[in-house]
């Protein structure tokens, strides 16, 4: 038994990472629910949840228990197979996308392992495309939920979602391409390591954010649209569509959509951190503690998400389409051309 442990410690650590990521993603959703309620409350001069646990810290757990105990309902006219398949697709895609996102440098776990272990679930040399592919699969969860519910509000939500995703994926991809040109690689780990050089005389500070400020704005805006968050939350616009694509869902099937939305936010923030904010590189922080820096950067981006939701009103639907096709897409194409020219003529 102990022989097995010592000879296969690397494999066990690798499996450990998978389990840790799986649990951490679920916990991140719980933390986000709490953060969202608290931040929203403070933005509106309330105090938010305070009753369950210290300062309301156990509120998300109470929420989950409530969801689990609710009755599972299905409209009589709904499509029985697709109605249950839709939330599963959403949640699976959300979890799977994180599999190729590296979140730290190599570590030996304080000397427990003989060789350093790189912190990621899988290192694929086209990682960034894999994230892109899996997120594009996640749309089906929402679209099918909208269609299979056989309700007009759900259907409108699903239709809006598919149109919105197609419109914003283009700008998303174009913003990405500029980073790929800068880093000369499609592997997320290579892209992060390309940002470890020094800038303004500060080591580990050559973040692509400083070369791609416009690209970062485009990427994050499109990311908000992709995750259906306010001000782009049209698929579930409460004032117009009751609850949009998940109007007819109850209990944990609704919970899965909820989970998927928060995990998608975490993934978009993690990818944005890897692409633009130097991943786990932070001045003065050694590589083995980089994952803490990574966590801190993600938290800042996630706070931005919440901040934005409670500060900005929703756009009109035609404004969203016009903005995506007539502003975001041309700007992102110009950004790509400018970046390519910069790399070619100035060797950025």
């Amino acid at each position: 038994m102990f022989d097995f442990l010592s000879t296969n410690s690397f494999l066990i650590a690798q499996i450990g990472i998978v389990v840790v990521i799986w649990i951490a993603l679920q916990l991140s959703a719980a933390v986000m629910v709490y953060a969202e309620r608290k931040v929203a409350a403070y933005l509106q001069q309330r105090v938010g949840p305070t009753r369950v646990g210290y300062a309301g810290l156990l509120q998300p757990i109470a929420d989950v228990v409530k969801l689990l105990l609710k009755e599972e309902l299905r409209p009589a006219a709904a499509d029985p197979i697709l109605f249950y398949l839709a939330p599963i697709i959403s949640a699976t895609a959300a979890f799977a996308a994180f599999a190729v996102v590296p979140f730290g440098g190599s570590t030996t776990l304080l000397g427990l392992l003989t060789e350093p272990l790189p912190l990621h679930v899988a290192d694929v040399n086209v990682a960034i495309l894999v994230v892109f592919a899996i997120t594009s699969m996640g749309v089906y969860g929402i679209v099918l939920a909208g269609w299979s519910s056989n309700s007009k509000y759900s259907l409108l939500g699903g239709l809006r979602s598919s149109a919105q995703m197609i419109s914003y994926e283009l700008s998303y991809g174009m913003a990405l391409a500029a980073v790929l040109v800068l880093a000369n690689s499609m592997s997320l780990r290579d892209i992060v390591n390309a940002q470890s050089g020094s800038l303004f005389g500060i080591p580990q500070f050559r973040w692509f954010l400083f070369f791609q400020p416009i690209g970062f704005l485009i990427f994050f805006t499109a990311g908000i649209a992709e995750t259906n968050r306010a001000p782009f939350d049209f698929p579930e616009a409460e004032q117009e569509l009751v609850a949009g694509y998940h109007t007819e869902y109850s209990s944990m099937s609704f919970g899965l959509f909820f989970l998927a939305e928060y995990i998608n936010m975490v993934t978009v923030s993690a990818v944005a951190t890897d692409l633009y904010l130097g991943g786990w590189w932070l001045p003065l922080v050694p590589e083995s503690w980089g994952w803490l820096a990574f966590l801190a950067k993600i938290s800042v981006l996630l706070f931005f998400y919440i901040w934005m939701r409670w500060s900005l009103p929703r756009y009109r639907y035609d404004q969203l389409m016009a903005f995506g096709w007539k502003v975001l897409l041309p700007v992102s194409v110009l950004n790509l051309i400018a970046t390519a020219a910069g790399v070619l003529y100035f060797g950025l």
Partner: protein
Amino acid sequence: MLFYFFAALAIVASLLVIAQRNPVYSVLLLILSFGALSGLYVLLDAPFVATIQIIVYAGAIMVLFLFVVMLLNAPHEETDFDERTHPMLRPGPMRFGAVLALGLIAELAWALARSAPRSTFSNAPITSVAAIGRLLFTDYAFQFEVTSVLILVAMVGAVVMARREDHGAKR
């Protein structure tokens, strides 16, 4: 082993696509079939082509398909002819489709018979993105550009067809 799994999945899913009455299920099964194809590309050591297959076909094009199917909201295919009639005696579009299908089969048979002995297209397998890019913009530059012109024509055509209805209407 995995090859047979993905190949069988692709074939079964494709067959089920035409066997479905509900177009939404057809679309979903087609996505499954694309996914299986992508698995085959991974087995062929072409992860780039595999992900592009998912992004372009399963991700972008099929979302549009699903969008259209949902907008038309056609839960079942309409069959306005007698089920028992012989396929060749059914009305126009079906007969045309049968002719096209026969043409495709003939073409496939011809192509397979012609190039059967060669299993690889070049000496070295093209796996890296850089290699694919270099080939596209040097050896296959002409075909690449012609394809883009073709897509441009299709786009212009689509815009013209969509615009035509607006002629009389006030803006």
